[in-house]
Symmetry: C2
Subunit: 490 residues, 2 copies
């Protein structure tokens, strides 16, 4: 057995023991290491591969846990080749209509500058306050938290959120509030309840891929309405509405993902007028509005809505913690009740411990304090990103600085492709998401999203500087590539 | 204004202040209390209604929170009639295909004997251990818990569960494990991924309504295979399979909900042989297996499966805490990956704080200790329920005592209807779920489910005794009802 041919890359994201166990598992599956054969003692393989013995032991342990090895004390480790055949034809059963798509999530890597992850900076998390909140809630209401709860949400949190939504003018007397497992679940419930397969839904274009893929998987036809620096194009929306009637329009009026753009107050009023003219239902995704760093707040569409056509979604993910899956939805009563029935069938209810912790943080003021810290930190990062783009990006690169949120949308000079730029940038450990991942009805090949909210200002500056250099190099490349007969796009 | 006509029932489940605020809100909505009109001072209304002043203040505060009232210091409370019209026609948009059904959940009421709720007894919850687990996990991994996580699950919990599933022979080398937001979400992901609208799914009949309604809402055609005292009828399954090919069969081999029945080892092997003969995929719901009080454990279908046709589901809800929404799914790799992609679109991932708490309880041994306590308490309750049924139920009532689980399935003498019995039982504050709520292809009018797991043995005895008396009375009634020309069914 040529043990030295095991492919191990110390620079890789996966730990070495994991790379080793996966390589060996591949060999076992492929029959290269037959059933019952003996693996070399850990000390021997460690010597052969130049590894620490504990690394090899960890790999053997992982293989044993996964059923690929059986250790016999004093005799060594023996291969257990998979006896269970996977003869059953699942491919045939896997619903062909469902495209298998999902967000791109690169594993965190301290060495890289990751503009791809749209996440808050964990350094800002108020860990001590969260611990205290969990402790107090479990002490005071532990049995209720651990017991089966109401589909609508943990009552103290739901009441607190309802009061908050009424105070801000978002919820009216005809509305009800439903706590969801993040904003993503609210979209899933809306897809199930309001958009039957074959119907059309209008989305922003470009849009957050999690929203697009969710509706696609539900068998819905999508139409993308262009988003510019000032948000959704209402003129384009009107043109599309004249052609077809969608079941609903999903819109993110503040700091849209991926463009970072925001609709002005006047544009929001105009959007509602157009929606009223065509009888369109609106789903408002407001998860980024709380991340405003400068300029006056603009009222949510829902608070400007006078005829109950808007369903409002928000969550704690962006202003607090994405790991606690808690969002909410404010909708006219009849809709909220149908969404609640759908929610009960989806997961019975949202996890109560997280709802309880967030309630305690909210009611005690710690959440508001954390929110202010998030905005303060966000402002420094936004400033760093905008300043770096201004000084480092070559002429021909376009971007519209937002007043908050998590994203900058960068348009490359004509002819340049963001996927090609990413291939070059990854070599320098700079990551971002190319525009095509956000495409609905348009390709967005020459655009990219920079998520700045989770990165230290210094990293933002270095990352943007690297991208600026690479874009300059790329701008010179297509001509050369064409001369050499190599396609410029990868 | 005739304030005395406000309908308040002190014996009702809802607190008086809530009844008052809802009555007043109805009056405001109906225009009986017009916009801008002044409500009587709290002291005055309290006097008129014979209530405590703080009760009226709480009702006014609730109305204010909900936007129905505006309090002006020193001037009083004024009605804000809903100005926002709900002119928009949502009914038209609400997907007509989706039946609005959900489980029956009566509000907890200390005075009643509630056999309807299938919940663990909160008195057994190890609250101190849960607090310590939350404290420790947040201290050691707080930032990772609060940050966006992996769709497959919180890594420490997923690894612990995978090892556990391999050790018990449930997961083989070709399988992967996915943490879900309870077992209910796993069913939802399976419906989305494996059962396109218009296809057929076979369910047990009677079955847990949450499973039935989930598939119905997904547009799937259902066929119920009868369940007897020895579990799913494999002979009936064969007959149905000879007629049509379902996308999958959902089965609960141990302590099925609602019948409490269990398939023997030989029946499990026979079921797999039949499934192999007809090429059927099986989804195994194993959430109750951990609640065995006596008799030897029977291997899961998944561990007997030799060709990878079984998807295995379980959760912490029944053996630990339903309020923490954490379940898991073991499936052949290709299926698990598709379910993971669907999960990412449904809620990104399961709440991490709950996963972390359960991991800590599991790894530290507290979960196993709690599980033993649950089984110990369960055994006493099961024993009480079976003994009470034996001594209190009249001749003609049939039931098969299970060896564990949470439910007893009671069949009434021919001609008696469980819904009618419920109407009589509610008057005596005894609640249960009539058989028809679990119906798939058969009515189950004369059967009922008693969930004993959450009730003290003394309550079980009193409740069963009351039901025995009512059944005797009912057995005498149909004849009388017919004589009087009153229909026996309500």
């Amino acid at each position: 057995m040529n043990w030295a041919s095991l492919r191990l890359s110390p620079g890789d994201d996966a730990p070495i023991y994991r790379q080793l166990s996966e390589n060996l598992a591949d060999w076992i599956r492929a029959g290269k290491l037959p059933d019952g054969s003996k693996l070399p003692p850990t000390r021997e393989l460690a010597g052969l591969l130049g590894l620490n013995r504990t690394t090899v032991s960890a790999a053997y342990q992982a293989l044993e846990n996964e059923g690929f090895l059986k250790a016999h004390v004093g005799r060594g480790s023996f291969v257990c080749a998979p006896t269970r055949s996977t003869a059953f034809d699942w491919d045939d059963k896997l619903r062909s209509a469902a495209p298998e798509r999902g967000a791109i999530l690169w594993p965190p890597d301290a060495a890289s500058i990751n503009f791809a992850s749209s996440r808050p900076d964990p350094a800002v998390f108020p860990l001590e306050a969260v611990r205290r909140a969990a402790e107090k809630e479990l002490r005071e209401r532990g049995a209720a938290i651990l017991q089966l709860g109401a589909a609508e949400g943990y009552p103290p949190l739901r009441e607190w959120l309802s009061a908050e939504m009424r105070r801000s003018g978002i919820a009216g007397p005809g509305d009800e509030l439903l706590v969801t497992s993040g904003c993503q679940q609210a979209l899933d419930l809306i897809a199930k309840t309001l958009s039957p397969p074959g119907e059309t839904v209008f989305l922003e274009d470009p849009v957050y891929p999690g929203a697009r893929d969710l509706f696609l998987n539900a068998g819905v036809e999508l139409r993308g309405i262009p988003v510019g620096p000032a948000g959704l194009s209402i003129a384009e929306l009107e043109r599309e509405l004249a052609r077809r009637q969608p079941r609903l329009l999903l819109v993110t009026p503040s700091f849209q993902n991926p463009t970072g753009s925001t609709l002005t107050l006047e544009a929001r009023r105009e959007l509602l007028r157009v929606a009223a003219r065509f009888g369109v239902a609106i789903v408002e995704n407001d998860v980024y509005a709380g991340l405003r760093c400068r300029g006056p707040e603009i009222p949510a569409l829902k608070s400007l809505d006078r005829d109950g056509r808007v369903i409002y979604l928000s969550s704690f993910s962006k202003v607090a913690f994405p790991g606690l899956r808690v969002g909410w939805c404010v909708a006219p009563r009849a809709v909220a009740r149908r969404l609640t029935a759908a929610k009960q069938l989806a997961d019975l209810h949202t996890d109560q411990l997280s709802q309880a912790v967030l309630y305690r943080l909210a009611a005690g003021g710690a959440l508001a304090e954390h929110h202010r810290a998030v905005v303060r930190h966000g402002a420094r990062r936004l400033e760093a990103a905008v300043a770096a783009c201004r000084s480092e990006m070559p002429a021909g690169v376009a971007f519209a600085p937002p007043d908050g949120g998590m994203h900058l949308w960068i348009e490359l000079p004509p002819g340049l492709d963001a996927t090609e730029l990413l291939a070059r940038a990854r070599d320098e450990k700079v990551l971002f998401v190319p525009g095509r991942f956000f495409a609905v009805s348009r390709p967005h090949h020459n655009a990219l999203r920079l998520s700045f909210a989770g990165l230290a200002p210094e990293k933002i500056r270095r990352g943007v500087a690297a991208l600026g250099r690479l874009i300059r190099a790329q701008a010179a490349a297509p001509a050369r590539a064409a001369e050499e007969g190599i396609p410029a796009l990868v």
